[in-house]
């Protein structure tokens, strides 16, 4: 066991998979000598050499497009996109090729690719450094979408993602990159993709969340003093609807929390599914506490945009009072 923050847990996972599997290589902007702008790949180029940790030109479509080629050849590339706001230029390669290759070739070509992307707000960064586009990729069949909320989860989920034979969008909530540490096994381990984690159990209400928001949810739960169950999705697609269903059937009430805008955020899908699966068990309409349907503001106002414990508490109260 080691006491690690999320950055260190990911760094360790990368080291272990690279040591184990020669097919694994990293590529991206500034990931080599500089160790990435968040230092997630710190020391890896020194350790594994310039052919396995490759500084690429500044071009995200190029990074993902060449990674697709690497994957078609049977390697297991792990590109880093510097911030989620710079996924845009790579959107086409991700959606028209990475997500489609297996099915459009009926399995002749597969894309074992893990795209690592720092995600989310709350770190006082410039514009386009604070968004949460997970729903966009969850609406793209052929991809898996993962977002850990702790160092332990990050390591286990990343190793699973790397070993997964299909393309995975691995979103790393930058707000909790270094905000806390926890015990992380030094040996390798995996956490199954598609399985949620019950952070704490309760009978009165279910909160569903993922990524950095899990922290705000915990704060709100503590504040509330009520008997609340918190389900951390861990994987956005495929998502663990069974765990949600089981919890909501028990509690009858649900609040969903995410940073992305409300409209067509992934909370919408969960809400719709809960209606479909738990209709007769619901004591109150499912509530969503999310980013607003605006552009994430520059940092002076970012905390007014992001869902916080206060807003979550209000939703909990409203939902319990219903």
């Amino acid at each position: 066991m080691a006491n690690l923050n999320l950055v260190q847990a990911i760094n360790l996972a990368l080291i272990q998979e690279m040591e184990k599997d020669e097919r694994v290589l990293l590529l991206g902007e500034d990931i080599g000598l500089n160790g990435g702008v968040f230092r997630v790949t710190d020391g890896l180029q020194a350790r594994f050499g310039k052919s396995r940790v490759v500084d690429t030109p500044l071009a995200e479509s190029g990074i993902i497009g060449t990674a697709i080629g690497l994957a078609m050849a049977g390697l297991r590339p792990i590109p880093e996109i510097q911030f989620e706001g710079f996924l845009g230029p790579a959107y086409d390669q991700i959606t028209t090729h990475a997500a489609r290759m297996r099915t459009r070739t009926r399995g002749a070509f597969t894309i074992p690719l893990t795209i690592r992307i720092p995600v989310g707000g709350g770190i006082h960064a410039p514009e386009l450094h604070s968004d949460s586009p997970e729903a966009i990729y969850a609406h793209t069949p052929g991809l898996k979408v993962v977002m850990p909320s702790s160092p332990y989860d990050a390591k286990g989920l990343l190793i699973s993602a790397i070993r997964d034979p299909d393309p995975v969008m691995f979103f790393e909530p930058k707000r909790i990159y270094r905000s806390f540490r926890e015990e992380v096994p030094e040996d390798e381990y995996t956490l199954p993709l598609g399985k949620a984690r019950t952070v704490c159990s309760g009978n009165e209400l279910t909160i569903v969340s993922w990524g950095a928001s899990v922290v705000q949810c915990m704060q709100a739960i503590e504040k509330s003093g009520r008997d609340i169950e918190l389900v951390d999705l861990r994987t956005i697609y495929p998502f663990d609807i069974d765990a949600i269903e089981e919890s909501v059937k028990k509690t009858g009430r649900c609040v969903i929390v995410h940073e992305a805008p409300l409209t067509c955020g992934f909370g919408a899908e969960i809400s719709a599914r809960i209606m479909e699966r738990c209709f007769l068990h619901l004591e109150a309409p499912v509530q969503r506490v999310t980013g607003f349907d605006t552009i994430m503001p520059y940092y002076k106002l970012e905390l007014d945009y992001l869902p916080d414990a206060h807003r979550i508490s209000r939703a909990i109260d409203d939902c319990l009072a219903y």
Partner: protein, 391 residues
């Protein structure tokens, strides 16, 4: 060999180099153009002699004729409703064929959709291509041993895959290189730039082949590249580059052979502009008479790559009308057999499109597949129903 290699890139750059005063030359270069057998029958012995042994030439000729015949049949199939939109290859057979002839069997060939002749040469079954355009993904299930990639529909995107595939070969220490084909229109896409730039800066062995057929649907080549040549796009990357008469199989083979040798030796990319012409419509959904001049088409009919080899073989007495007749019969049979095979493949199962979505299908997708519904009511029941009834 008649032209220097690589085209001169006479300066190197360093962050601490001094700046001479006041006006100096920072860079100069030139691009060569190669032509061996022209449409009037002139043949340049200095470059052409021995380039393609006669027995190979016969096989290559047969490949072009077969491809042309299949092209004509495909067009008729579409017109009679037996095939979807289809892009004819007519007039461009020599480009991809010459390239495939030069490439090793285990080099990657990363194409677009107008390179049938080269793909068939590498062993891709004709029925695969037909099946693809008949609206069936199984046509894209390219057997790995051909080292060809599926047909690329989004223009300009596949060159990055070529760069990645060649990068993988370099990473593994394999000798394999990649060649990638794309159109003049495709050279406008950002991905084209990124593919060349990655290959040049990361030193990846790719041959970039622009098939300049002068049109991108209705846009004349100048809309996509107003520069004097497409070949000069490569100068942006410090990449060796050359222009070739793409309807001249000999010149294509010559240039491709030199380029692949250079790429293998240096582990870096090389660019080729193959100048050719699309004799047919863009696809069967297009009507080229709306936007282009029949005079231009006629001029290019006179430059047909197939006729050129036919005349050349005749002039060398390798060929006569009887041989031609026999060959046509063989080719037609081959093409018709391929159509029969493609049409003989039973239609896919209604649910087939679920099965290759992921290595392991998520439970939710299994449910959607088995119930054939997305609405939730009765979904679990009908799922168990299907599950039990399938036993």
């Amino acid at each position: 060999m008649g032209y220097s290699y690589p085209p001169s890139a006479n300066m190197t750059r360093s962050a601490i180099a001094d700046f001479p005063m006041p006006i100096t030359t920072a860079f100069s270069t030139e691009i060569k153009r190669v032509s061996i057998l022209d449409e009037h029958g002139s043949f340049d012995e200095s470059l052409g002699k021995g380039l393609i042994p006669d027995p190979d030439l016969l096989r290559l000729y047969e490949a072009m004729v077969t491809c042309r015949i299949l092209d004509e049949i495909a067009f008729r199939l579409q017109r009679s409703g037996r095939m979807g939109t289809y892009p004819q290859n007519m007039g461009q057979e020599a480009t991809s064929l010459g390239a495939s002839y030069v490439l090793n069997k285990d080099d990657w060939m990363v194409t677009c959709y107008r390179e049938n002749c080269g793909l068939f040469w590498r062993g891709v079954p004709m029925e695969s291509i037909l099946l693809h355009w008949m609206g069936d993904e199984r046509g894209n299930a390219m057997p790995r041993e051909h080292f060809t990639t599926p047909i690329a529909v989004p223009i300009g995107t596949q060159m990055l895959h070529a760069t990645g595939l060649a990068w993988a070969a370099k990473y593994r220490g394999e000798k394999r290189i990649a060649a990638t084909f794309f159109g003049d229109g495709a050279s406008s896409e950002g991905d084209f730039h990124e593919a060349c730039n990655f290959a040049a800066n990361l030193e990846i062995p790719v041959v970039f082949v622009c098939q300049n057929n002068f049109w991108a649907i209705s846009s004349p080549a100048t809309v996509n590249c107003s520069a004097p040549t497409v070949a000069q796009r490569a100068i942006a990357y410090g990449m060796p580059t050359i222009q070739v008469d793409g309807n001249d199989l000999f010149a294509v083979v010559k240039v491709m052979r030199d380029a692949t040798a250079w790429v293998r030796e240096h582990g870096k990319p090389h660019f080729i502009e193959m100048v050719t012409y699309r004799l047919g419509d863009h696809t069967t959904a297009d009507d080229a008479r709306r936007y282009r001049d029949q005079l231009e088409v006629d001029k290019w009919k006179g430059r047909d790559p197939i006729t050129r080899i036919f005349n050349y073989m005749k002039s060398r007495s390798l060929w006569d009308d009887a041989k031609e007749a026999a060959l046509r019969e063989r080719c037609e049979k081959a093409a018709n057999d391929a159509v029969a095979r493609a049409e003989g493949i039973v239609d896919p199962q209604k649910n087939e499109f679920f099965d290759s979505m992921y290595h392991e299908l998520p439970a939710d997708l299994v449910l959607q597949r088995d119930t054939r519904q997305t609405h939730s009511l009765g979904q679990s029941e009908s799922a168990s129903l299907t599950a039990s009834s399938s036993h």
